[in-house]
Amino acid sequence: MRGTLVERARDGDDVAFAELVDLEGGRSYGIAYRILRDAERAQDAVQQAFLLAWRELPRLRDPDRFGVWLRRLLVNACYEEFRRHRRWSANVRALPLDGPAGPDDMVPADERDALERGFRQLTPEHRAVVVLHHHVGLSLGEIAEVTGVPVGTVKSRLFYATRLLREALSADELEREVRPA
């Protein structure tokens, strides 16, 4: 089904491409939002990724690799979006602590804030690895394919990011322990 859509879109069928946007758009936006922690920038990254996909699709030889290929475009668009807004923007927008969230009771507010703080300290490359591993559920090898770096680099990024997030949570636990009731 998706392979056929990819082939049709590759041949210039924009209706098929629209169906691909519907199939992959939500997941792509979810990934971009979680990497960038900003709805507007995530929308820009997704838009950029899909437009690049449309432009480059005629050169995609294997339709079965569309998913990996699109994610690679998306992750690169997130990197670019992250840096684009760090370049000239003096008025850095505050990252939302409470974007469109799910059930409030899944993660306690304290922990959520601590994770948000820790995550913000990560580079987009580290964020991407965390999101692709813990949210999308990709293996380290698959992440290496998507991000275009060796598996060892993925491991190292995940290790560093995990350590930082653990430290953020530990600091939060410590603060709660010493905080007067």
Binding site: R10, G12, D14, F17, A18, V21, D22, G25, G26, S28, Y29, G30, Y33, A39, Q43, D44, V46, Q47, L51, R55, L57, P58, R59, L60, R61, D62, R65, F66, V68, W69, R72, N76, Y79, E80, R83, R84, R87, W88, A90, G99, P100, A101, G102, P103, M106, V107, E111, R112, L115, V130, V131, H134, H135, E145, T147, T162, L165, L169, S170, E173
Partner: protein, 286 residues
């Protein structure tokens, strides 16, 4: 203390809290832009996202591509086009300037068919009153609003005509792919070139983390008009490269800008070369 397993569960649960649907506005924006994107020709190599190295048929394609490339380069050298790509005949040449219609879609000279090797299109901005040759494969995000001359609009401001080269693998050492971003803004002015440049430098220092005095400044020409080329990093220590060319003609001040986050000397040298080459194709129409 948070155990490894706990941490993974907490991080996964935290990441699960978030949107899962593409906003309809984004979907509409993508689908509206699709017809305006000139697509890549199906590559002779067709290697995009293909993973394994070419084998058998792939090597034959590689050889074919090499021959085509050699012939194309030979032709370009023969007619003196290498380094300065010239526009292909535009099916939709410059529209007359329309200061009162900032949101008018801009003619970008897009051809309906595939992009011929080495071809380029002409961006003629009805908002910013200039045209230039857009190298093949670049994306153009046209300005939709008229700038009033205040502040220092960044690349993604709606008053800027934005030019996005394709990201290039191997251009940078530090990231997998990279590319600079270029943009153009213009506004009416009654002042001289030096006054225009001073105002732009002050605005950049105020609106962005740029130094008040650029690292270097030298005279150049844009479309036969005296201009100033400035180089700086914003901020000075470790900031991205920002190149600007400022020019005033016919009561209109222009800013042509490039920014690159690579922070690599070799890439910045390449940026400067490409920026100057692009400026040579600019035609001002104030």
């Amino acid at each position: 203390m948070t155990t490894r397993r706990d941490l993974e569960l907490v991080v996964s649960a935290w990441l699960d809290e978030g949107p899962t649907d593409l906003p309809p506005t984004t979907r509409r924006a993508i689908l509206a832009a699709v017809p305006t994107i000139r697509r890549r020709r199906a590559g002779v190599l067709g290697l995009v996202g293909s993973g394994p190295a070419p084998s058998g048929r792939g090597w034959a394609e590689l050889a074919t591509a090499a021959v085509i490339l050699a012939v194309a380069l030979g032709l370009m050298l023969g007619v003196g086009l290498l380094g300065t790509v010239r526009p292909s005949p535009s099916p939709n040449p410059s529209a007359p300037p329309s200061a009162s219609a900032p949101a008018t879609p801009l003619p970008t000279g897009r051809a309906a068919g595939p992009t011929p090797f080495g071809s380029a299109t002409l961006l003629s901005s009805a908002v910013n009153h200039f045209s230039l040759t857009v190298p093949a494969g670049w994306l153009v995000v046209p300005a939709t609003l008229v700038w009033d001359g205040a502040g220092a609009p960044a690349n993604d401001a709606p008053v800027a005509d934005q030019l996005l080269p394709p990201t290039e693998q191997g251009r940078c050492q530090s990231v997998f792919v990279c590319a600079p971003t270029l943009w153009v803004v213009s506004a009416p002015t009654t002042g001289s070139l030096s006054a225009w440049v001073a105002a732009r430098d002050a605005a950049s220092a105020e609106d962005h983390p740029c130094p008040a005095i650029p690292e270097s400044q030298r005279p150049i020409q844009v479309d036969g008009t005296p201009a100033v080329l400035e180089t700086t990093h914003c901020p000075t220590a470790g900031g991205p490269l920002v190149l600007t060319a400022e020019v005033v003609r016919g009561g209109r001040g222009y800013v042509f800008a490039l920014q690159d986050n690579a922070r690599e000397a070799a890439v910045e040298a390449l940026d400067a070369q490409e920026f100057v080459a692009l400026l040579q194709t600019v035609r001002l129409s104030p």
